[in-house]
Symmetry: C2
Subunit: 733 residues, 2 copies
């Protein structure tokens, strides 16, 4: 039995399930106890700050998106001199691409806003629940986080499925043309992800650095102290960076991966006549939602003494196991004789997901060799601490790269083995193998995202407990959740890089498929002979690094990553400067703040962070959007391809470097502060001493790395892919 | 008039001139005043430490090189199943490659050892000369440095010219085959450069960190204080890193570039029948020696109040102007109708040299925007200082990359324009254009290297003045020279990266030429048809990033750079730990050291640095040597090519990042320490305060970056090229 087109109704069913589940979770969370009046008071200020930021940020993004949609419509509409899709005029194509772009941007924004809203509504309820036990608090925090996870995945699937159906219907039910028409959706998602991640990342670190530097260092008051004018901005920041930012990031991943895989599926559809190859990504994403749902329901602490991370891991492995089951079922139902190979490729993807989680844990947790060796190196002094820390962080890029290489080559080999069965080239079959691996890796995305958003909710709950003068036992409970949240945030970043890396190859190929598609139609329209068309296509499909323009494209790709990182980090520095000045001003203007007799002006600090973040996100954003187009237009489509590929490789390494440095130094500092470094005689070293300073500096350096530049680089990698996909017509003469 | 083979006697003449000039300089320096008995005493201990290190280091390198030569001989001899060069048996080929390797290693070692020896003989004479004026001291220091510069360039030219002549004579005067036979020489040079730079880099930073951390920070004694047990090791370190290391680096550059350009010249020789294309690199290198010689003679301070850097710049621009003249003359004499285009390409290379010097100065000197902005950011506090510093350093990679892209594309276009005149493809003509650009850039290499070695000599002279209790005015003079030396050291690193980047493309092409060469001979020997041979060759010459193995090769290349950087930095940390422990032990064991009543045991500290450096250089060295071979053997010759190319791109960016971070943070710290950061009221901020700590941390982080990892990465880039060139037969089945 081989199913194909019948399964086109599975995605809407899964979308309905996901949205209903999210709605249920929202109701469930909202009807819970909101704690003491003090807690509510703190939470209200966070809510207000978050909403103020969201309103301004998404207004800015909406304006930018509208302007960009017009530019896309005009450029694609007028430069698509070639007939990209038969029967579609260039003007129509430009308008439809612009509409798809706007829908992608809108859906990404909506899922980001609702997720943030739920997160800032959940935090106080987690704080309140912690009075009845940390296990209760975990359930509330995870459910709050799951709203984000399920909405992101559901709306992403909705966008792809809905536009696919709409454009198919609009253009004579041509199932093979439709995937090329919805590419704009992926770019819209990337566009919002870029600015959401940049704006959120800059905001959160500017607030954090401002709060720490003036509050903790200069005034000597503890973390989350209510006297600190920047404390609310700091708590708001945790949400806008980790919740809205990462949500947009994975929204983009799933959209881009689905579209890219569908484009690759077209070649197999043409060879076999089965729609299954085009629909497979949508069906697997649907089952991924169900698997994630089970994970969320299972992830409960058995009792208050179980480690929070153990419960969260149980949920993850449940999702992964169910994903495996569904993967087997789907490939068996849909792919006929070749199913076992593609099932194998999907398993490779799932294994890669687990590998990335384990490797990230290994390099950022205090109990393994890498962070331990950083901590140990604090004994001779701060210099060796920083030097060995950097060494560990450079090293931490190696295992993930090996994992990607292994996943890529084995899934390609598994796919290629079906070339005989399917009567296609090994390249086409092998590429689809890597696509299925990416689908497998992204199946548990909703659960991973739930774990991620759990992080800022738990962090905020801790802040609320601290600021509302609740008993110390509560803080211990929320601290345990916060520690688990730090882990899940780091893991999600690893997962996001890993899936971006695996998806990258599939997106390159989709880009080359699109270039081929354009060249064929263009040359046919110009009346070229078949031989000439084949020669042109062959030349366009080869990304030969031995050619000067292609090599220069590669150089530019690597350089873009470094320059973008520079601008993102600088943006944090500039925004932090404003924050520091404001906090100092408040302390100077009103000595009652430190005395505790008058309240600081939290709103002013929030406002400054908001404005600075939005101002500073523009320059890196514009660079990321214009440079690839400039390279493509000046140096041609193969140079754009090599920019995309080498930019992705460099981007993966630098992103891993950034994410892991932040995570490792953060945990090393925590260990040093707990007095965990002992000298030969067992006396605690380092606390309050010079190597503590080194630990603080490491943490400070790592902060904008892990929360601004690193995550923005994941987004940049995918933006490169979707941007070049949409702009390809401009590159071909 | 077109000259070709007549000019084969120009290189030996230039080599003679260079060696005579170096001998004259050695005599001139040695017969100068050696100062006070105190100065001589200090200098003797430095000399002794340096010689001890040299002896052990080069013994280790010699053993490693002998073992590697055997491995090369066996592997190349037995795996060269194909007849690489007609009429040469595989066994013969293996033996000759091994011999060429050993000669390359020997010549590089000899030039390194003599250069170091002269440098440690010069330092005390510079210290003594400073009593008669800083202008006199500059002349001595530059002459001491020039010994290194001229020997390195002369011996490199001698190696290439001599082996070329020898192998040509040995194999029936086949001028087209000879360039392929001397590739082993380049690998020998790379091999020694790798270990010289790694060992020297680790030694110098371990000693520096050890001396600073225990001496300056813990005991509060000034830099270069004779009570510090690590002070001599620190002074020795300046020589082994900057003098021997950079010398080996540029030795390797000139050897690899000459061989690569000669291989590219073979195609033009075949098309035109003129030997000029093969001999051009040797002739230009010969004239470069003369141009550099004039530069050294001109670089004198007009009076004691002129800035040392002004005199050194005068020398550089004299060398560059003469190089331009010789470039015009040579191309006009040798290249016939196409000369003007290739002259243009050579000018592009010279301009690129100047551009790299200017860009490096811009990003590392305190008077320009980048370092100024780092210094300014110390006002809000250490966090913004570090964050903005990193931002500047990431940014600093952009302009150099643009310069390389511009140089590469314009020199390729100039070369390609001659395709019609020469009746070759645009690829062959264009590539030779990039080769001529590289030759142009490397013409003033001897002068640049003289400026570079000037650095550690001036630095050591300052140390000797300080330690011999000479009057303070002397220290002011040597400080001025030291500051100029810091600049020239940074510039040389920029120049080394720039020339490595420009040479890279030419070396890729030489590698692909060699692969083609092997495949052709192999297939012909197997009796393949002409059509089959062409198909095979076409497949091997295309480095298509869209193929999975090629993409994985690219991933591995980028990863190798990060992993190698990790190991190099870790080596410094580990070696520094040993040094710190030893210095602390001496201070504890003998309180008389701090009191100034007993002398510390300098030798013990030198010994520990030496042993640690040699131990720690092995692991990164072995990684660099084995990983590319493993990739080539497992994934094939095109994957090896993409590893080489993307490894080079990533290596250039990371090396620029490392070099510039060290330079910028070093100068920023100097400015902060001079009390140059003022608050709104004009009061000096930062000195001795928290942001001074940040400045120190920045400097500490930057130190192993700029002196160990960065320079080792230049070497790695070229090693990748020469290693794959030599090992190519192993990759082809």
């Amino acid at each position: 039995m081989r199913l194909g087109n019948e399964l086109i109704w599975l995605p809407p069913a899964a979308i309905l399930i996901a949205i209903s589940f999210a709605a249920y979770l929202v109701r469930d969370v909202l009807r819970r106890d909101t704690g003491t009046p003090e807690m509510r008071a703190v939470s209200d200020v966070i809510y207000e700050g978050a909403i103020a930021f969201l309103r301004r940020q998404y207004t800015t993004i909406a304006l930018l998106a509208l302007a960009t949609a017009v530019v896309i419509g005009v450029l694609v509409g007028s430069f698509a001199h070639a007939i990209e899709v038969k029967g579609v005029t260039p003007l129509q194509f430009g308008i439809e691409t612009a509409i798809a772009f706007l829908i992608g941007a809108l859906l990404s924004s909506v899922s980001g806003i609702i997720a943030m809203w739920t997160a800032v509504k959940s935090n106080v309820r987690v704080a309140a629940a912690s009075r009845y036990g940390v296990d209760k608090a975990l359930t509330v925090a995870l459910r709050g986080g799951a709203v984000s996870g399920f909405l992101v995945v559901a709306l992403s699937l909705f966008g792809v499925w809905g536009l696919f159906q709409a454009f198919k219907a609009l253009h004579g039910n041509d199932i093979a043309a439709a995937p090329f028409l919805i590419i704009g959706l992926g770019f819209g998602a990337s566009f919002v992800a870029l600015f959401a991640q940049l704006g959120g990342g800059i905001y959160t670190k500017a607030a954090d650095v401002g709060a720490d530097l003036v509050g903790k260092v200069e005034q000597g008051i503890p973390e989350d102290d209510p006297r600190n004018p920047a404390v609310i901005a700091d708590l708001v920041g945790d949400n806008v960076g980790d919740c809205a930012g990462r949500g947009a990031d994975l929204f983009e991943s799933t959209v881009a991966e689905n579209i890219g895989a569908m484009i690759l599926g077209v070649a197999l559809y043409r060879a076999t006549g089965s729609e299954a190859w085009i629909l497979l990504p949508l069906v697997l994403a649907s089952f991924g939602i169900v698997a994630s749902l089970a994970g969320v329901l299972v992830a409960r602490m058995k009792n208050t003494s179980e480690l929070p991370m153990a419960a969260l891991n149980r949920g993850f492995f449940t999702s992964a196991a169910l994903s495996l089951l569904f993967l087997g079922l789907t490939t068996w139902l849909m792919l006929g004789a070749s199913w076992l190979y593609f099932f194998g490729a999907g398993v490779v993807g799932l294994v890669n997901a687990v590998a990335f989680l384990l490797i990230t844990q290994y390099y950022t947790e205090g109990i393994y060799r890498p962070v331990k060796s950083i901590i140990d190196s604090s004994r001779p002094g701060p210099a060796t601490y920083i030097i060995l820390g950097l060494s560990v962080v450079f090293e931490s890029t190696a295992l993930p790269v090996l994992a990607i290489a292994a996943a890529l080559s084995s899934s390609f080999a598994l796919g290629a083995a079906t070339a005989g069965i399917l009567s296609v080239t090994t390249a086409v079959a092998g590429l689809f193998g890597t696509a299925v691996a990416t689908m497998g890796m992204l199946m548990p995305a909703a659960y991973i995202l739930a774990m991620d958003t759990f992080g800022p909710i738990a962090d905020n709950a801790g802040g609320i407990v601290e600021m509302s003068n609740a008993p110390d036992e509560l803080r211990a409970g929320t601290d345990a959740l916060d520690a688990a949240g730090n882990t899940t945030k780091a893991l999600t970043k690893g997962y996001a890089v890993g899936s971006a890396a695996l998806a990258a190859f599939l997106l390159f190929s989709a880009y080359l498929d699109k270039v081929e598609h354009i060249v064929r139609n263009q040359q046919a329209a110009r009346g070229a002979t078949a031989a000439l068309i084949e020669a042109k296509v062959r030349a366009m499909r080869v990304v030969d690094l031995g050619q000067v323009p292609v090599f220069i494209g590669a150089l530019m790709g690597a350089m873009l990553v470094f320059l973008f990182a520079s601008l993102a980090i600088r943006a944090v520095g500039r925004a932090a400067e404003g924050m520091i000045t404001e906090v100092r001003r408040q302390f100077r203007a009103d000595p009652g703040i430190m005395a505790g007799t008058s309240k600081p002006d939290y709103r002013q600090a929030v406002d400054i962070s908001t404005r600075a973040a939005l101002q500073q996100m523009i320059l890196p954003g514009v660079l990321a959007l214009t440079m690839p187009v400039a390279v493509g237009v000046i140096l041609g489509p193969t140079a754009a391809a090599s920019m995309l590929m080498v930019g992705t490789i460099t981007g993966i390494l630098v992103a891993l470097f950034m994410n892991n440095s932040g995570g490792a130094w953060d945990n090393a500092k925590k260990y040093v502060e707990m007095g965990g470094v002992l000298d030969e005689n067992g006396v605690a070293l380092c606390k309050g001493s010079e190597c503590h300073d080194a630990a603080v500096v490491g943490d400070t350096v790592g902060d904008p790395f892990k929360d601004t530049a690193g995550p923005s680089l994941h987004v940049l990698i995918k933006l490169l892919a979707t941007l070049t996909l949409v702009m390809a017509p401009l590159f071909i003469r």
